[in-house]
Symmetry: C2
Subunit: 353 residues, 2 copies
Amino acid sequence: MTGDDLDKAQSGETVALSLDEVFALSRSVLLAAGLTAEQANPVARVITEGQRDECHSHGLFRLPGCVQTINHPRFNRAAVPVVESTTAAVTRVDADFGFSLPALEAAMPRFVEKARAIGISVLAINNCFHFSALWPEIERLTAQGLVAIAMTPSHSWVAPAGGTKGALGTNPLAFGWPRMGADGQPRDPYVFDFATSAIARGDISLHKMAGKPLKEGWAIDAEGNPTTDAAAALDGAMLTFGGHKGSALSTMIELLAGPLIADMTSLESMEFDDGGKAAPCHGELLIAFDPTILGGGSRDNQASSERLFGAITDQGARLPSLRRYEARARSLAHGVTIPRHLYEQILALPRAG
Amino acid sequence: MTGDDLDKAQSGETVALSLDEVFALSRSVLLAAGLTAEQANPVARVITEGQRDECHSHGLFRLPGCVQTINHPRFNRAAVPVVESTTAAVTRVDADFGFSLPALEAAMPRFVEKARAIGISVLAINNCFHFSALWPEIERLTAQGLVAIAMTPSHSWVAPAGGTKGALGTNPLAFGWPRMGADGQPRDPYVFDFATSAIARGDISLHKMAGKPLKEGWAIDAEGNPTTDAAAALDGAMLTFGGHKGSALSTMIELLAGPLIADMTSLESMEFDDGGKAAPCHGELLIAFDPTILGGGSRDNQASSERLFGAITDQGARLPSLRRYEARARSLAHGVTIPRHLYEQILALPRAG
C-alpha cells in the first residue's frame, strides 16, 4: 500500500477486503449474471489475482465490464469448452463463445503434457471473450518449470506506424521464464506482459476524465494527426509503442493469434462486437517450451539466466513484475483495499446467494 | 550502413556487378580464408542475397568481417554441423564453431518436415558464429508455406531500460508470414527483421566517422548518462527501442536463444570473443508453424490476413520488407553496384582460384 492509498484508507475512501472476500464477491456477481459455475470460477480467480497483485485495472474494477460482456447477445453463458488434441504438439480448444479462462483451464493439462513430452507445445484458444491479463496464465506455466509465451489480438483501436487510423489491436505479449533460488526452490519467475500499443486504452479514458493531456506519441486524432487531447484520441486511434518495430510486432501478434489459428483479427473482432462494447472476442495463442529438452541437459541454464538477471539488477535496472510480486506479498499478508465507490458500484450489481 | 551513407562515403563512384559475380567473389574470398566449400557456399549465398536486396550492411560490406571472424582462434574453418533429431518437434544442430548458415542448411529439411507433420517445430542452432540477417532464412521457410520466427543474442552492447551499461545484445527478432496472390500463386511474404536495440551498432560508428550527433534515446555514455555523442556512446552502451517494453523483449530473446537452448547469452558471447572482434558466437532459435494444421483447415487464413494487410496499406502505411522487394526486382534485372573503395578493399583480400 502506498502512502496515498494509506491516506485514503484512513479517510474512509477505501474498503478493506480479504482475498477470499474478493473471490466470493466476484463469483457471486458472475453467477447472478447467468454464468455457470464452470465459467464463473476461473474468471473470479483471475480477478482475485489481479486485485492481489494491485493490477487494479485487472482486479474488481473489471467486474462491471465482465457483466456487460456476459450480457452481449453473442456471449454464451453456458459455454462448454471443447478440447481437441490436434497433434503431438498442438492442442486446440473451442471456448464456445464463453470466457477464455475456462477454455484455458480445460486445455491446460494436455498443453503442459505435450511440452514436457516433446519440448515445445502450442495451445490455440478459439472463439473466446477475453478481458484478462496474460501474466496469470504465464505464471501457471512457469510454476510447472516451463518457459511460456502468450498473445492475443483485441479491437482495432491502434494505427500502424505511418498510418492514420485503427487497424491493429492493443495486442498484448507476455513471456515467462521459471527461476530457481540458490536453495533449489522455485522463486518468482521472470515475467512480462505488455500491450504493444503505446498506452492502455483505459488510460486514455482516465486522462479524458481528469482533463489531462496525453503524452506525445500515444495517439492520433480522427484525421490522423498527432494529438495530446484525450477526447480527440478516443475518436482517432492509439499508436503502437516503439514506432515501426512495435507496429511490426503488433502485426505479428494479429497474425499468430488470429489467422494462423483460424480466428479473428482485431478488425474482425470489433465488427463481431457490433457496438456492444463487450470484451473482445477472438483467439489466443500460447507456446510452452520445456528447457530440460531444448537444452539437451548439457548445461545449467539457470546459472546463465541468473547471471543475466544479476547484470540487469546490479546496475539498478528493475526486472518486470517486481512491483506485482511486492504487491502480492502485501496482499497475502494484509488483504487488499479498493475504492469505496468501486465497492458500492459492485454491491449495486445483482449477486447470487 | 544505408545506401545513402555508402554513396556519400565514396562520392558516387561505384562498380557494377552481376549477382553471379557477387557470389563468385564472396566464395573465392571465403575459400582463400580457409573455409571448406561446405562452409563457404551458404555464406556466399546469403551475402549475395543481402547485396541483391540492397541491405548493404549485410552484403559484400560484410566480407572483410567474415574473414576477420574466420581468423578468430576459436573459429573452426572445417566445421561440420551435426544434426540431432531430439524429439518429434525439436531439432538441434551443433554448428561446430563454424558459421550459423551451414548448420541451418543441414538441419532445415528435418526442421521443416516436423512442422509439416505436427504443426509446430523448433530448431536450436548451437555454437555458431553469426553475422547474417535473419530474413533470408525466414524467407526459406515462408517459401514452403510455413509461418516462421527467428532470433539470436549478440554481444552485450545494449543497456537494459533504467540501466547504465551493456547487459543485452542487439538481439534481432524476425518473423515471416507466407502470402498468396488472388491467382493462387505465392507472392512476396510479410517479413520483418529488426534489432531490438534502438539503432544498429554500425550506425553509431558511421555517425562518429561523419561527426554527426546521435538522436536522443539511442545511447548512453560510460557513466550511464544520455548522450548524443557517438564516441561517448561507443564507450558507453546503446539503448533498446521502445523503452522498458523493448528491453523486456530483448531479454526474452537472450533467454530463448541462449539459456533455453543451452547456449551463451550476449554477455557470455562477448567474453568468449576475448577482444577478437569476430562475429558473435552463440545460439539461434527458430520456430516454424504450419497454418494448415494450426488453423484446422476450417477457415481461409489468407483472406483474413490479406484483409489486415489491406487495412494497413490502404491508409498509406507500408509493410516491412517492401523496400527490399523493390531492390530485389531491380537487382535481378540489372545487377548491383557497390562503392569502388569497397570493391578495392575486397580485391585486396586473398582469393582462391
